[in-house]
Amino acid sequence: MSDTTPQASGARILVIDDGITMRLYYRTVLEAAGFTVEEATNGVEGYEKAVAQSYDLLIVDINMPKMDGYSLLRAIRSEAAIRSVPAVTVSTEAGPDDATRAFQSGANFYLVKPVAPQALTELARLMAGGRS
């Protein structure tokens, strides 16, 4: 990118979404902005990856097979080692209850699909920081 914001480079983001198109979208946008992106296709895989490695931001889809986003976040927040990782949920609904549920289960922010590329990049820069 033209204005290489130094804090963005190298930050690692884990995208947990069962939609293959969505994953490709996240990867394309975020890698273009200098992030390192890894993927998980469901909650269980996401949990395993999040526990095994350190990430600077989790992007979590709500509706997923095996383990949904809410359960995943609850599980992550109860692991002391990864409790502090900022997490964003992405859902297709825009109801006020969804936000509350997301916050209660452990999200720090929530997005509603579709997420514009600019918004996604900015969000990642803000939330993932770069001091890893």
Binding site: G19, F103, P117, Q118
Partner: protein, 879 residues
């Protein structure tokens, strides 16, 4: 324009659609299976999420509606009905068609908005209505109201008929019928269906959207809208349309709408005298005098004129048992002015059933809340970007959630981290330090107070507390390389390239066969046995490599038969429902693979066989119970590989084929005579259905019996070099068996010599056996010859005569035996006399091109290992 993301979306959407469709079908059988409901829901849900990345509003809207219905089903607010499944499947079909459109030209086809709107309304009408405006009452439950504004545009004669019928007390209903686009494939005949309505008057058939140009016109897609008037009750119409009720809309027609005179404006009689007194006659109710006057004037007026039309209508109004004065007056006014005057509704015009457009059902789309993430970034006035503010505000919200101390401990670290990250680098160090302090004391107190204070300061405080976040430049890097992750990489290759490879390897296989010739020459001509051995060794290596290569390339072209079988669960379900039969379809071996060409040819024959089974084979549930069978019939499609053939069996447990009926039908149709029928075995009788022009149906049914019989199936399958057989046990069911070659690329032929050393190839599929018969065994009947082969008389033909080449000087072998190739073409067995049998071999058949292509009797040519060209015969044409 297609981007990698769009391509990914297309592929994913297809998978999701397939998953959703099979889930729906499974759900119909076990409606309470939560796992399936969740799968279906999630498929549609994911699809909705993905489509949001692109600008396809019609697509998104429709999928959203489908998701809402599924969500209601999942939540237990709705219980799943077959109608609902129909609508949802329609939705999936529509979306699948759009996916095709997107793949081919990046847009949804024309009319997408309208379609989406309509289908969305249909789907939403299923939803439990949230306190909103109730839809206007329909003419009948379950049938949407038709708009009737087209009624006055029908031809006058139709309207007059309808009006007169109404005058005698018949009901009047307007019908709008939009057949499903694929209706031709499910055997529907929309016009014929409409014709079955008693008392049909006007019939108007128009395309729903303007016809595309002839190049892109798909004649198999029904895009018609049929409209008609009928003097019959809505119930009758509903009963005729009961299987397509969702494609039908009915509307009450107020009779005054029918009255609209039309015609050439000028000329004709001077009507002044009549007009002078007509109004007075109406006022006085002197109908009889008026009638006579109108009748006389009608006689004298040229029928094409506007005046004549007005008079006809006037006569029709006056012919009513109690003529409506307002209508008569309006028509008299029309006569006077030469222009159609508005005709008021009947009586006091209180019941104004106006031609309002049909109500849109429960459009309960919640107004979308402003999305926190979509606000534009980098507002110049703000110190923090709006998104940063939103994120900080969200952390405040989290901290103010009613969390117990334990939960607070769990949540605090990520909130602290998030805020630090947001502030990091963009804010003065002092803010960051104050935040860290606040986190520490909040942790100590187990109370978010200090953190909230800092957040309040950041969010609500004066602007200069926080520095402006760096302007953010974002966007998809156009040049960014897309890296796919996980799974095997898939290449999309043009089929022509694979075909070219196939041809090349075919030629390699054939030309490597010339090496043994070379080895022989090395030995016999050059006298080098050493060299011959080396060549043979080399040949073994090349032979193995070529074979492996051929197998590898064949594998590329192989597709699982599920490519064609996947559509049948849906088809069987729909057709069975339409026929009122209960059928469970079992598919086995859908992973069996065959060459792409074979798979492509397979679809239509299978479709036909399955339709036949459903239509003729399987009995109605009651009949099955009477025959002490389970009410639900089973159709089994079984695919498996048997040596180098793919076998596909379609087995039903229906009533089977009655050989006697077939015999009788064949005699009636003059296909065989009574004596032949007598002699025939039951199996032979069953095989009669393969004869062209034979239809098994006792009466032509709507579904399969369209004069297209099993002969079409046979033709299609034989074109691939396959065969069809039919076995049936009366009362127990029928099995149709398609045997297909694995690949059409390689043909196995037997070489024969005829005409004195000329080589010909005969496809192995046709060859039943080879025999040598003694001259004395040949019987002559005038010009023809025959011989007896195991109690059967087999006609004998000489290949060299058939081909018009000179017979060899020496006729037959010295021992006076003829080499006879017994071939089977269709059901006929024929003996072909050739000079010599030669070996069988695999060849790559090349059809004749150019001026040679018209020559009958030859299938094409193949190159032999020694460079000679082999002519391959087409026995079907030859015999």
């Amino acid at each position: 324009m297609t981007t990698p993301l769009l391509l990914r979306f297309v592929a994913e959407a297809r998978e999701l659609l397939q998953a959703a469709a099979s889930g729906l079908l499974a759900l119909e059988k076990s409606p309470d299976d939560e796992t399936i409901i969740n799968t279906v829901f999630r498929s549609v849900h994911t699809l909705k999420g993905s489509v949001g990345l692109f600008d396809f509003p019609a697509f998104a809207k429709l999928v959203h509606a489908g998701e809402d219905v599924l969500s209601a089903v999942r939540g237990g607010q709705l219980s799943l009905t077959s109608e609902m499944v129909d609508l949802l499947l329609d939705m999936l079909d529509r979306v699948a068609a759009w996916i095709d459109d997107i793949e081919s030209d990046g847009t949804l086809g024309p009319g997408a908005d309208g379609l989406s709107h309509e289908m969305t309304a249909d789907l939403r009408s299923l939803l439990p209505i949230p306190a909103g405006p109730a839809p206007a009452p329909d003419s009948a439950p379950g049938v949407a109201a038709a708009s009737i504004d087209w009624v006055p545009d029908l031809p006058e004669a139709d309207r007059l008929d309808a009006f007169r019928a109404w005058g005698t007390g018949a009901p009047l209903v307007a019908i709008e019928y939009e057949p499903a686009e694929d209706c031709f494939f499910s055997g529907e005949d929309p016009v014929n269906l409409l014709r079955q309505i008693p008392g049909l008057h006007g019939l108007e058939i128009r395309p729903r959207e303007p016809w595309p140009d002839s190049a892109s016109l798909d004649p198999y897609r029904c895009v018609l809208r049929l409209r008609a008037l009928a003097s019959t009750s809505a119930e009758t119409v509903e009963s005729v349309f009961r299987y397509v009720i969702e494609q039908t809309r009915l509307g009450d027609v107020p009779p005054h709408l029918l009255i609209r005179p039309a015609g050439a404006p000028n000329g004709g009689l001077a009507l002044d005298d009549f007009l002078d007194e007509a109004d007075a006659l109406v006022e006085a109710g002197e109908w009889e005098r008026l009638r006579r006057a109108v009748a006389a004037l009608t006689e004298l007026t040229s029928p094409a004129l506007f005046a004549a039309s007005s008079l006809r209508w006037l006569a029709a109004v006056l012919a009513l048992p109690s003529p409506e004065p307002a209508w008569a007056k309006a028509l008299i006014a029309s006569l006077a002015t030469g222009q159609a005057q508005p005709v008021p509704p009947r009586g006091t015009a209180a019941i104004s059933a106006d031609a309002a457009p049909p109500p849109v059902h429960g459009s309960a789309e919640a107004p979308a809340a402003p999305l926190p993430a979509s606000s534009p970034a980098g507002g110049a006035a703000a110190r923090l970007t709006p998104l940063a503010r939103d994120i900080l505000a969200a952390q405040r919200t989290i901290l103010t959630l009613d969390l117990d101390p334990d939960a607070f401990t769990l949540r605090l670290p990520s909130v602290a981290h998030t805020v630090s990250n947001v502030l990091g680098g963009t804010v003065r160090q002092i803010d960051l330090e104050s935040w860290d302090d606040a986190v520490e004391s909040a942790r100590a107190q187990a109370n978010p107070g200090p953190m909230l204070a800092v957040l309040a300061h950041l969010l609500d405080g004066p602007d200069d507390t926080v520095h402006r976040a760096a302007a953010i430049d974002t966007g998809l890097a156009a040049q960014g390389e897309l890296r796919t992750t996980g799974g095997p990489r898939v290449l999309k290759v043009d089929q022509a390239k694979v075909d070219a490879l196939m041809t090349l390897i075919g030629e390699l296989v054939v030309s490597k066969n010339s090496l043994p010739f070379l080895a022989r020459r090395a030995e016999s001509v050059h006298g080098s046995r050493e060299m011959a051995r080396e060549i043979k060794d080399l040949f073994a290596v090349i032979d193995r490599l070529a074979q492996e290569m051929q197998a590898a390339i064949m594998a590329v072209r192989m597709l699982p038969v599920s490519e064609v079988l996947d559509r049948f669960p849906r088809l069987v379900r729909d057709v069975a429902r339409k026929l009122g039969k209960r059928v469970s379809l079992v598919i086995e071996g859908e992973d069996t693979a065959a060459d792409k060409n074979i798979i492509e040819v397979l679809g239509d024959p299978l479709l036909h066989i399955i339709r036949n089974a459903l239509d003729h084979g399987i009995e109605l549930p009651d009949d099955r119970v009477t025959a002490s069978k389970a009410p639900e019939a089973t159709v089994l499609i079984r695919a498996f590989q048997e040596s180098d053939q793919v076998i596909i069996e379609v087995r039903d447990d229906g009533r089977g084929i009655d050989p006697d009926k077939i015999r009788k039908a064949a005699v009636t149709k003059g296909l065989i005579d009574a004596e032949q029928a007598e002699r025939m075995s039951d199996q032979q009788a069953v095989n009669l259905v393969f004869l062209p022009g034979f239809s098994t149906a006792a009466q032509v049914s709507d579904l399969s019996g369209r004069g297209v019989g099993m002969d079409v199936v046979v033709t299609a399958v034989e074109r691939t070099g396959g065969t069809v057989s039919l076995t049936s046990v009366k009362g127990q069911g029928t099995t149709a068996r398609l045997s297909l070659p694995l690949s059409m690329a390689v043909t196995r032929v037997m070489m024969v010599e005829a005409g004195g050393g000329m080589l010909f190839g005969i496809p192995m599929d046709h060859i039943a056996e080879t025999v040598r018969i003694h001259r004395s065994q040949v019987r002559r009947f005038k010009q023809s010859e025959a011989f007896v082969l195991r109690d059967t008389i087999v006609p004998l033909l000489r290949l060299d005569r058939l081909l018009g080449i000179a017979p060899p000087a020496w006729f037959g072998d010295d021992d006076q035996e003829d080499s006879v190739l017994v071939v089977r073409v269709g059901n006929a067995v024929t003996g072909l006399v050739v000079d010599h049998f030669r070996e069988g071999m695999d060849i790559i058949l090349k059809p004749f091109e150019g001026i040679l292509s018209g020559i009958p009797g030859y299938a094409g040519t193949a190159l032999l290992g020694d460079g000679r060209v082999l002519l391959v015969l087409n026995l079907k044409e030859l015999l």
